[in-house]
């Protein structure tokens, strides 16, 4: 452990620590442009110069390029170093335009700070300034190349870190340019990070362009709820509007970056069409009146037998408070148990996944970067949880092998092995891989059940011949691996797959490897919903109940089954059969428009909340602002209204859990804090898994992984489906998620709509050949509930016998069965353009 003295203060740092990092640990900020903790050092900008007074080097050196070593004495304030930095900044500013007032980075611009603090105030250079043309880089990023200081951070992030290659350096010498070869939308779904990473205003945020300055924003730490990973963000609000979201450094979840879905997925919060007032039978009312109306309707179902006719559904975008309250209200009022998921299989898969997250198996997103072999089972990282793809990319950069077992046409921004197979075969393939990878020496370590499980695995010979060579090659890599990680999806896969993934992990663990297990779950709070959900209850069972006539009143809490439920026709019929439909939500969903009684609720940004990500990490968020209709919307001509008032317009909505608390006779209405404390007590009673959950105030910024699955008795499943049934020439239809456009909240973001593209249907190349279809054809697919039309995309990069339909908003895909859906090949017709 080298010890170094910086500015007369001594510090001991880990070997390999750069001097600039050591200084940072002491709280000394050495100026930097090109150095970034996530991207490393290149020594390009020359602005982190410090003076080495003693030690192996002497004189002015770049602190980002020198490892801290014993006997080093460094001064950051030495005259020579300060003068050096001053001249460097002056040189960097030679061509910098005079546009700070019209630049969105002004106010949080590293270059601005360094220029001012470096003492360069007056321009001495009298020559002409170099200029560049700018490019259109899509709806998210504004390009202003004149401001560039050539630190290369953008191309290093975009290409080296992110794995995309459509943006980089061009031209040479004094004319080096950063941009695309041709104008166009950036391909990377992580492009928003360019804004955070650029030390000046070359890349600025387009959706929030010119909205305000950093100093005017109410900034607070927040959370992304657009997928299950729970990336940490910083949210900026101004004039009662959420304006911007940026990545927040999280050592355990997302690191320094977030994906564009998360960065721009907040617009639902401040939409003009966001419902702000209660509606009872098409009449706008106050919250009290609406609650009274709900209570009045509930009186009909007051007695014990009738209470079972009331059902309540939450969703995976509920906060933990809401999830708990839904459950508590149902229990207290003896209603039907609450539903959180579309179908019973989803509940089952989640519950089995959660119960298998043993503490020594579970890994966080950042720990994936340390793996050397990653098997992705039934998950599409880039589309389901984009930041997972970036984490996989980091592992791959460090030498890990990534093998994806998934029927979908998977794209990842790096080199990986894709072994497409249908949903039954992918787990068999992975089993065969394990079978082939375990050496005889390792096998000896296996005990009874593990040995039995190993014996039941398919051998390489049992799987398709075409795949054998690939599996064998991978097996060699897995054999050498010390830290393999299994990433498993829980959405598309078969019932047993999540449990099987855990079994595979356990098997490798038994064989002496340091294994990690990582699930991808549906929704931001899928984990908590899975913990709270009753096994046999889902939206589907509720529909069945309505159809039978046993459920007459339905309360949907921040839940919109019409968005996700595969059989739309059946759902709509059921909703019509209801006597009363109550909806509480903060988005103007389709189901909200059908509600008899509608109550608006608040968003994460207005009341905060606790969300549990897919590894069981509870992360709490405090309110970012007071709520209310954005000033721009309450505006008056071209300016805000000229009135004084103490009330915030449109701030009446309460959190869903506060509204629900009115539906149980608790006597005194509780304050938000008291109610929260009470909810925490209920949670501990409802499920023992919550006992270790810290109080909201005690949750640390990095979150708390509170859930520790006990070493389950049911390790190593006995019943294992091996291989897949032949589908008799039928194609299995699978509705899948895409990075942009299929997630409910981010779908409301106007800027992401362009990125969602137009609806397509994916088909395997040989299947298409059989049907005489080619890439780009318009096809109609006859589903259970009617025909679906879209362009066909033919790819060799997916499983045969599958038809993959991304759940695009413009595509009425919800004509499927509630269960598995198959189409005959003659149900697919080519349409004329």
């Amino acid at each position: 452990m080298p010890t170094i003295i910086i500015d007369d203060r001594e510090i001991e740092v880990a070997p390999g620590t750069k001097v600039i990092e050591a200084a940072e640990q002491l709280g000394i900020m050495i100026p930097r442009f090109c150095y970034h903790p996530a991207l490393g050092s290149v020594g390009a900008c020359r602005v982190c110069a410090v003076k080495f007074l003693q030690g192996p080097f002497k004189g002015v050196q770049m602190s980002c390029m020198v490892d801290a070593q014993d006997d080093m004495v460094v001064s950051t304030t030495d005259k020579e170093a300060v003068a050096f930095r001053k001249y460097v900044i002056e040189c960097l500013m030679l061509h910098h335009p005079h546009d700070c007032p019209v630049c969105d980075a002004g106010g949080h611009c590293l270059l601005q700070d360094m220029t001012v603090s470096g003492g360069h105030g007056i321009r001495r250079y009298l020559g002409k300034k170099r200029t560049y043309p700018d490019q259109y880089l899509g709806p998210l990023i504004q390009h202003e190349m004149n401001r560039c200081i050539h630190c290369y951070r953008c191309s290093r992030f975009y290409q080296d870190f992110g794995g995309y290659h459509d943006l980089g350096a061009m031209q040479s010498a004094n004319q080096t340019y950063f941009g695309r070869f041709e104008e166009g939308i950036l391909e990377s779904p992580f492009s928003g990070n360019l804004i955070d990473i650029c030390p000046t205003g070359v890349y600025t945020d387009k959706p929030s362009r010119y909205f305000g300055r950093r100093w005017d924003y109410e900034r607070s730490p927040s959370l992304c709820i657009n997928c299950s990973l729970g990336c940490q963000t910083v949210v900026s609000c101004r004039y009662r509007k959420v304006v911007r979201q940026e990545a927040r450094l999280s050592e355990s979840v997302n690191g320094h970056f977030i994906c564009d879905r998360g960065r721009y997925g907040f617009f639902y919060n401040s939409l003009a069409q966001r419902p702000r007032s209660c509606i009872v039978d098409d009449q706008t009312t106050s919250v009290d009146q609406a609650l009274a109306a709900v209570k009045q309707k509930l009186e009909t179902f007051a007695d014990k037998d009738r209470a079972q006719a009331v059902a309540c559904a939450g969703s995976t975008r509920n906060s933990l408070e809401t999830l708990a309250m839904v459950k508590h209200v149902c229990q207290t009022n003896r209603w039907q148990p609450p539903a959180y998921f579309e179908d019973a299989a989803a509940t089952y898969k989640l519950k089995s996944a959660i119960s298998r997250l043993e503490p020594d198996l579970t890994v966080s997103l950042r720990e994936i970067e340390s793996a050397d072999f990653i098997a992705v089972l039934g998950a599409d990282p880039l589309n389901e949880a984009p930041m997972l793809a970036l984490a996989l990319r980091q592992a791959q950069r460090k030498g890990a092998t990534v093998a994806v077992f998934d029927p979908r046409p998977i794209f990842l921004p790096f080199e990986f092995k894709h072994l497409p197979a249908n949903l039954d075969m992918i787990q068999t393939d992975l089993g065969a891989l394990l079978n082939a990878a375990l050496e005889p020496a390792a096998l000896k370590k296996l005990d009874g059940s593990a040995r039995e499980f190993y014996a039941s695995l398919a051998t390489v010979k049992q799987i398709s011949a075409a795949r054998q060579a690939e599996i064998v090659a991978l097996a060699e890599l897995l054999k050498a691996s010390q830290r393999p990680i299994i990433v498993c999806g829980t959405e598309m896969v078969r019932r047993q797959t999540p449990a099987l993934a855990a079994d595979y992990a356990l098997l490798m663990q038994a064989a002496g490897k340091s294994v990690g297990l990582f699930y991808v779950m549906p929704g931001a709070n899928g984990f908590a919903a899975g913990l709270l959900a009753d096994e046999d209850v889902s939206v589907e069972t509720l529909i069945a109940g309505i159809e039978k006539g046993s459920i007459k009143m339905l309360i949907l809490v921040e839940s919109n089954p019409l968005w996700q439920f595969p059989d739309r026709h059946r759902l709509e019929q059921a909703l019509q059969q209801l006597e009363v439909l109550v909806v509480m939500d903060y988005i103007n969903s389709e189901v909200a428009q059908k509600a008899d009684i509608f109550l608006p609720t608040t968003t994460l940004y207005e009341t905060g909340g606790v969300y549990v990500n897919q590894e069981g990490r509870a992360q709490g968020v405090k309110p970012a602002y007071q709520g209310g209709i954005p000033i721009a919307q309450t505006g008056h001509g071209d300016h805000p209204p000229r009135v004084y008032g103490t009330e915030i317009p449109g701030a009446e909505p309460q959190a869903a859990w506060q509204l629900l608390a009115h539906l149980i006779g608790t006597g005194q209405p509780l304050t938000a804090e008291d109610l929260r404390a009470e909810i925490w007590q209920w949670l501990a009673k409802i499920d023992s898994g919550f006992k270790a959950l810290p109080c909201v105030a005690d949750i640390q910024p990095q979150g708390a992984r509170f859930f520790q699955a006990p070493h389950a008795a049911e390790r190593f499943l006995r019943e294992r489906p091996i291989g897949g049934a032949d589908n008799d020439g039928q194609l299995e239809v699978m509705a899948v998620e895409m990075t942009f456009g299929t997630e409910e909240l981010s779908a409301d973001s106007a800027c992401l709509k362009a990125l969602a593209g137009s609806p397509v249907i994916f088909m395997y190349s040989s299947d298409a050949k059989q049907l005489n279809l080619t890439d780009g054809d318009r096809v109609s697919v006859e589903l259970n509930g009617g025909a679906v039309e879209a362009r066909l995309q033919v790819t060799a990069n997916m499983a045969a016998g599958m038809l993959i339909i991304p759940r695009h908003k413009d595509l009425d895909w919800q004509k499927m069965n509630t269960d598995k859906t198959f189409v005959h090949k003659d149900q697919i017709r080519k349409l004329k353009d």
Binding site: Y132, P133, N146, Y644
Partner: protein, 178 residues
């Protein structure tokens, strides 16, 4: 004794002086009847000026609102079709303004300027909240020449990239020549 005489003499002179003043015409300028012309740089009512070519100078950079010690300036920035940044709305609460002139000092485009016009009292306090239409004037104020967009280096209708003062032609990025 001499001192006492001196003192009495001094006192007498003083009293005589003030007594003589009794018969002089007062030098008071009575305000509403007579208004003294103020120097151009007096700090009173704030205006938003225009470029010599007639476009709004304000780029809504928020610097004036940031520097304002009483937070009486608020605005919303936006972009118009030709790429110029402008204030969608601009509001000064003169009920709060202390006429310190820091906004004028902070303004990078010479848009916001203080004028000698100080008679802006109202009975209704809301009438002191000035919107952009009340603030915007049709002249250049004290700074007759400056046009920010000639120097900023951003593309607007004032000039494309490389067409402004002291700028080279844009780099051809598709060329390998230095």
């Amino acid at each position: 004794m001499n001192d006492a005489v001196e003192a009495v003499k001094a006192l007498a002179i003083g009293f005589a002086t003030t007594f003589k003043h009794l018969f002089r015409k007062p030098i008071t300028e009575e305000y509403p009847e007579y208004k003294r012309p103020l120097p151009a740089r007096s700090r009173a009512r704030i205006i938003l000026t225009r470029d010599p070519d007639g476009a709004e100078r304000c780029v809504a950079c928020y610097l004036c609102s940031a520097v304002c010690p009483v937070s009486c300036i608020s605005m919303q920035s936006a972009e118009n079709e030709d790429g110029r940044r402008y204030a969608q709305w601009f509001r000064i609460n003169f009920a709060r303004c202390i006429y310190c002139g820091l906004c004028e000092e902070a303004c990078p485009t010479s848009a916001i300027q203080l004028t000698p016009e100080f008679e802006n009292c109202e009975n209704d306090i809301l009438a002191l909240v000035y919107e952009k239409k009340n603030l915007l004037v049709d002249h250049q104020g004290k700074d007759k020449e400056y046009n920010y967009y000639k120097y900023a280096g951003v593309a607007t209708e004032v000039g494309k990239k490389g067409e402004h003062v002291k700028e080279e032609r844009p780099v051809n990025i598709k060329s390998n020549l230095p």
